[in-house]
Each structure stands twice: as C-alpha cells, then as structure tokens.
C-alpha cells in the first residue's frame, strides 16, 4: 500500500496507527495525572510546615504520615500504574485483533507484575 507499511493492507495499517495513538494517549494521560498529584502533594507538604520524610508502604497508604504524604504517594502510585495500564490496554487491543500469541505474552507480564506486588508485600 502506498506510503505505509510493507505488506500491510489499509485496514491493518489503520488499526496499528490507532493502537499506537491509544497507547500514546494513555501514557501521556497517566503522566499528567501523576505529575498533578505529586505537585499538589508537595505543595501541601511545604505549606504544612512539616519537613519529615517518611517511608510509605504500598499496602498501608492509610498510615502515611500526613494527607500531603498520602497525595504524593498516590501520585507515585499513578505513575507506577501507568505502564501497567499500558500492558492491559494492549491485551484488550490485541484481543480485538485476535493476535492471541501476544495476548498471552502480555498476560504473562501482568501476572509477573502481580507477583512483584505480592512478593514485595511478603
């Protein structure tokens, strides 16, 4: 087809470009949400006058030292989840393409990330 990928028909090329746009939008949106939460949390921390830096545990966010620490931790979590949501989005999109081989690969990555959370918690 003219001006596009070799050996690809127009419908497939359009679908590929659509997938690329969706993943790109997802990554940008996740980054924006994370940056806003982190910036707001940092501003709250500075205004509060507290200068104490404490560790926050993923499974005990409610025990964060202050609401500012909680908002910042949520920002970090949003940032960390953005690449994970990208994997989930690709599972959905590749399922629609019936590209089962790579649906399986992406699911394996999701399972590994779940194991990471559980192993860290343990």
């Amino acid at each position: 087809m003219d001006g596009d990928g070799p050996g690809l028909d127009a419908a497939t090329a359009d679908e590929i470009h659509r997938v690329q746009r969706i993943v790109q939008t997802l990554l940008r949106a996740g980054l924006v949400v994370a940056v806003v939460l982190m910036a707001v949390g940092l501003a709250m921390k500075i205004v509060s006058g507290s200068r104490h830096s404490v560790g926050v545990k993923l499974f005990a966010l409610g025990d964060a030292g202050s609401s500012a620490d909680l908002v910042m931790a949520l920002g970090v979590l949003a940032l960390a989840l953005t690449p994970a949501f990208r994997v989930i989005a690709l599972v959905v999109l590749w399922s629609r393409e019936r590209d089962w081989r790579f649906v399986g690969v992406a699911l394996a990555v999701i399972v590994t990330l779940c194991v990471a959370v559980l192993v860290g918690h343990g």
Binding site: H17, V23, L31, H52, V76, A80, L113
Partner: protein, 293 residues
Amino acid sequence: MDVSLAAVAALVTLGIFAGWLGAIIGIGGGIVIVPVLVLAFGFDIRIAVATSLVAVVATSTAAGSAYVGKGTANMRLGMTLEVATTIGGIIGGLVAVLIAPSVLSGLFAGLMLLTAALVGRRGDAEEASGEPMPADRERTEAIGWEEPGALAGAFYDDRVGGLVTYRADRVAVGGAISLLAGTVSGMLGVGGGFIKVPAMTEGMRVPIKVAAATSNFMIGVTAIASLFVYFARGYVHPYTVVPVALGVVAGASLGAATSSKVHPSLLRRILVVVLVFVAVQMALSAFGVDVGR
C-alpha cells in the same frame, strides 16, 4: 529524616539535571541520582534506588509516549522481552532489600565505572568517525510499523532514504540477556538500556533505531516490577521521591529543547571524570570509609 526546604530545592535541581543529562547524552538518570542521594544527602541506598526507579518510570513514560507515536518502538518485541525483564526486576528488588547496603554501594560503584567506560568509548568513536554514534542517531525521528502476530516490522530510515524491514530472531538469547538487564535495573535503580539495546541489536539482530526506541518503551514496565517490591517494603519516601521525579520530567523537556545548543562530546568528557571520581567515593563508602558530606 528531615528534609529542609533548601534540600527540597536541591532535590528538584538534581532531578532537572538528571533529566536534562539523559535527554542530551542518552544515559539514564539513575547513575546520577543514586550516588548524590547516598553521598550528599546521606540516604540509605535502598531509598535512593527506589527514588531513582520512580524517576526512571517518569522518564520512560514521557519518552515512550513519543516513540510509540512515531511507531519506532516495536510493542510486541518489547512485551516479549518484558516477561524476562520483569522477572529480573523482582529478583533484583528482592536481592537489594535482602543484602547489606554496603554491598549494594560497591556494586553501584562498579556500575558507575562501567558506565564511564561506555560513555568514554562512545565519545572517542564519535570523534574518530566525525558523525553521531548510533545511540544519538536513533534519537532522530523515524516512522515505523510492526507486523501483527510476529516480531517483525519496518521503519523509514532517513539515512538510507527508504524503508528498512527487520525480523527479530534468537528470542531465547534476547530473553536471557533481558533477564540480566531487569535484575541490574531492579537492584541498582537504573534503566538498564545499556544491556537491553545490545540484547536486541547483537542478540536478536534488530536495527538500532528500533532497539533503542523499544528499550525506552520497556524500561517503565521493567522498573515498576522492582519499584513495587521497594514500595511494598516502605522504601518509597514521597517527600524525597516527588521533588526528584518532578525535576526529572522538567529536565527531560529542557534537554529536548536545548540539545542543539550543547556540545555532547565535552559533556561526555566531564561526565566520565565525575563518574570515576564519584565511583571511588561510593566504593570507599561501601568499605566504611567516611567520605564526608
């Protein structure tokens, strides 16, 4: 520990510098962030590594969205190797939280010396050839496609003025090297691109532009595997992490805007000297010698 407003400003500046440096000469921010947090601020190296991993995710997410938009990154290839890098990331994260911090500092010093050698060699080769090295060339724009159902694709290469097709092979070799890359990333808080890119170019015969873009695309998922381990164990300190992460995002944008005004080879020479000097400090610190702050 307490972090003064001046220290917060210093952390933001550190992030801006790390992000800017990464955008200019293509190295991850972790190699700068971790030693500064340990040696200058006195943080436990595991807190420093967790902070660096958040910065790595921020950089990768920003860069990855740009690469995907151009179609240079091969998402199927990246996803396939991510199976290995995420397993490696878990291993690296667990090892890091279980071994003595001094051992981790010693390993990081070794990584800094290796990075200094790679950066120096790239600079020498660039001067000898008179043209930008692949790691810089791949950062130029390229438009590409990947083939559904396969580890293959094509991209438009402006140097050859046409389409370049490729097909990745030897997946087991690429996967084994990616496992190592994930382990190093999770243990030391760096992106590991210096291992993943050769895994794809040399191990799987993928063109450098595609390999570098795919590596950037993968780094975020690799980093979160180990970040979840550190986060679950309480090594993420939001008041330390956030100023650095916000700085990195700003610094990466600044680097993209100013890259044409900076001479990368001079910057590389300075960086090599600084990396060697700081590596010695990290090694001394690992052996219990007080390097002072």
